[in-house]
Symmetry: C2
């Protein structure tokens, strides 16, 4: 099986819970809230403008599917979607990625505090915990 | 010409600078930073999950095109993309909309302060100013 990279980082297959023709989704080493996942184009390019139309469509149709599952599985009522497209927008990994974060009433005192959290240096969680979460999510997308 | 609505709000044609088959883009009454614009599906639905695949593709292929122009026109180096998808994510107008915001070095002291700004009650600007901006942007998209 080919090695999967997220920017310069090698991603374990156990962290990936969704794959489409041109995109994949992985659980997060440092989630801002439970269920914070990332969707990426398979092709490693830094900026959203670098994507072909086919990649843009596949990425966001994938993000839509994933958001429905994530909102339900983590018992949210809403979803935050964001792309930090370039360094001045807070991007740290030079591989386009959509943040998908399920939201609940009062998960933050102010709804938009979440964005400040996205780039804070949070504690990484264990690979066991990440694998467990990916294993829970993967079945939603199988045979669909 | 049909009246254009952004959720419950009637939008002047002079505020719209981009139209595709299924989407349109408008300048912002209360921009967080210069060049902060919104892209919406023509069909008024509250949640991203309510969109068809065709609408998702058209919305984000439009957002990509617009982001390239906006970044260049407003002399940015990066772009922030966000959807506040549902009330708990900070959505106030019940019509899906992508925020596109050109970013520059040190436009905020911390890159992610911008998101807290998105929902603050900012001062509205004049319609003359909005019309001027839309008039500047519209030619980029004509005959393309």
């Amino acid at each position: 099986m080919a090695t999967t990279y997220f920017g310069q980082y090698i991603i374990r297959q156990s962290e990936i819970f969704f794959t489409s023709e041109l995109s994949f989704a992985l659980v997060n080493l440092k989630p801002v809230l439970p269920g914070h996942v990332l969707v990426c184009p398979k092709r490693i390019v830094p900026r959203f403008k670098d994507l072909t139309k086919e990649e843009v469509s596949d990425l966001w149709i994938s993000a839509q599917k994933i958001s429905v599952v994530i909102e339900d599985h983590f018992k949210g009522n809403s979803v935050t979607f964001a792309i930090q497209d370039g360094k001045e927008a807070g991007q740290t990994v030079e591989h386009v990625h959509v943040h998908i974060i399920p939201r609940k009433v009062k998960d933050f005192e102010n709804n938009d505090e979440i964005y400040a959290e996205i780039e804070k240096d949070r504690q990484p969680r264990s690979y066991d915990e990440m694998e467990k979460e990916a294993n829970e999510l993967r079945p939603y997308f199988e045979n669909k």
